[in-house]
Amino acid sequence: MLEVEGISKFFGDFKAINNLSFKVQVGDVMGFLGPNGAGKTTSMRVITGYLKADQGRVLINNKNIDEDPITAKSLIGYLPEGVPLYLDFSPNLYLQYVCDVRQVKDPKKSIERVIKELQLEEVKDVPIETLSKGFKRRVGIAQALIHDPKLLILDEPTDGLDPLQKFEVRKLIKDLSKSKAIIISTHILDEVPEVCNKCLIINSGEKKFEGTPTQLKRKVGKNLDEKFRKIIN
């Protein structure tokens, strides 16, 4: 589904990503880990076509994001870092717009579906500005899901959610993984074995570890945080 082949990205002299390659198939949930500033968000921006890679290429369903951006982008659902949303809109109005602009076939049904999946019923007509952090994040996830994308890229989907909401979102991600390829970035290491069947750790833009959560567990010690620190250093 997604093939990332040796992408590099420079900001002036600063190497944000250095020769990063990996693959994600339908059915995979890949946990994307790394300390702050490791290049996770930049990688996601390159994959979604927001930024252009200086080297390497990104293939989505064998479509190059730079050469055929329209087809490639239509396959992606994306929740950017910090959950940007049009704050004056209500979730309902906002989702309607996303349906329009993405030419979703049955907008009404799709909106009903995501509102149910993300439990937005009670706030669907309230301006997004007035919503709590957790609700905002769920609206962000809803807009990424509405066109039923084959590739789902979520930058910290559970950040700011309460434990119950976290549980719900993780469950949703697991359910979705049957028909989609999913990448989630996270700071919370415990989340990885729970939802992911693959994980990738990067630091300073370089791949430090790639494997399954079980492999990660086996590789070093007992405590996930400790392993993380070891791999990073």
Binding site: G49, K73, Y86, D88, F89, Y97
Partner: protein, 239 residues
């Protein structure tokens, strides 16, 4: 492209800001016409005084409308969602331009009571007035295209606002008779003519007589195209 324009317009009208803007625009253009333009005292049934103030109102009003178009998307980060939509970049850029232009046109149209007034008071040449309105709308498009470009350069609305005012002012003033007379002794006539062909006022003045000349039309259309093109180039170099 249509859903994008629709969203922009909805965002305009969902808050009271749009209505306040429109009200201020109408109030400013009207008070200039009535107090400084001596609309009644002139005793002539025409809207030339009204339209002679329009460029000066546009210089402030339009940058105030365009300043947030891209800056706000950048500040909120929604630009990331916009740019990752499966839509061509030029369509995204043009949709912003058209939405803002439509809003400005809406404000211009709402000045129609003054048109009714002159018709009530006398017998103006309505074809001329129609031409003047079309000219003003076209010129507004040029100011909008310029303002939207400057908004794309920064995530700070105030900077976008001030830059747009400055550049709009320059393009307006280069044809101002006072300025042209001032430099006429310093520069060769050909250069002065060249400079004044880039001026909004020169083209708008010909339009003001009610004849939307081909030259004026082409000038404003190419001006709009140029600034939109610059905005597209700006976003093509996303890095």
């Amino acid at each position: 492209m249509l859903p994008l324009i629709k969203r922009e317009l909805k965002l305009f009208f969902i808050t009271p800001v749009a209505y306040i803007f429109t009200a201020i625009f109408i109030m400013t253009s009207m008070s200039l016409t009535f107090y400084f333009g001596q609309f009644f005292e002139s005793g002539v049934a025409e809207l030339t005084t009204f339209f002679s103030f329009i460029p000066w109102v546009f210089i402030f009003f339009i940058p105030a409308v365009t300043m947030k178009s891209w800056s706000e998307e950048k500040r909120l980060g929604t630009i990331e969602l916009l740019m990752t939509l499966p839509i061509n970049l030029w369509k995204i850029v043009l949709s912003k331009f058209f939405a803002t232009w439509i809003f400005v046109v809406f404000s211009i149209i709402l000045t129609f009571p003054i048109w009714i007034t002159v018709n009530y008071l006398g017998n103006p040449d309505n074809l001329i007035i129609l031409g003047q309105y079309l000219g003003a709308i076209l010129m507004a498009g040029a100011y909008v295209a310029l303002g939207v470009f400057f908004s794309s350069l920064t995530n700070n609305q105030i900077i976008a606002f001030i830059l747009s005012i400055l550049v709009s002012f320059m393009f307006t003033i280069v044809g101002f008779p006072l300025l042209l007379n001032f430099v006429s002794g310093l520069l060769p006539l050909e250069i002065i003519e060249l400079i004044s062909t880039f001026s909004f006022l020169t083209h708008f003045n010909t339009i003001q007589t009610g004849f939307l000349t081909m030259k004026g039309f082409l000038f404003f259309v190419s001006f709009i195209a140029l600034w939109n093109y610059l905005t597209i180039i700006k976003f093509m170099n996303r890095s």
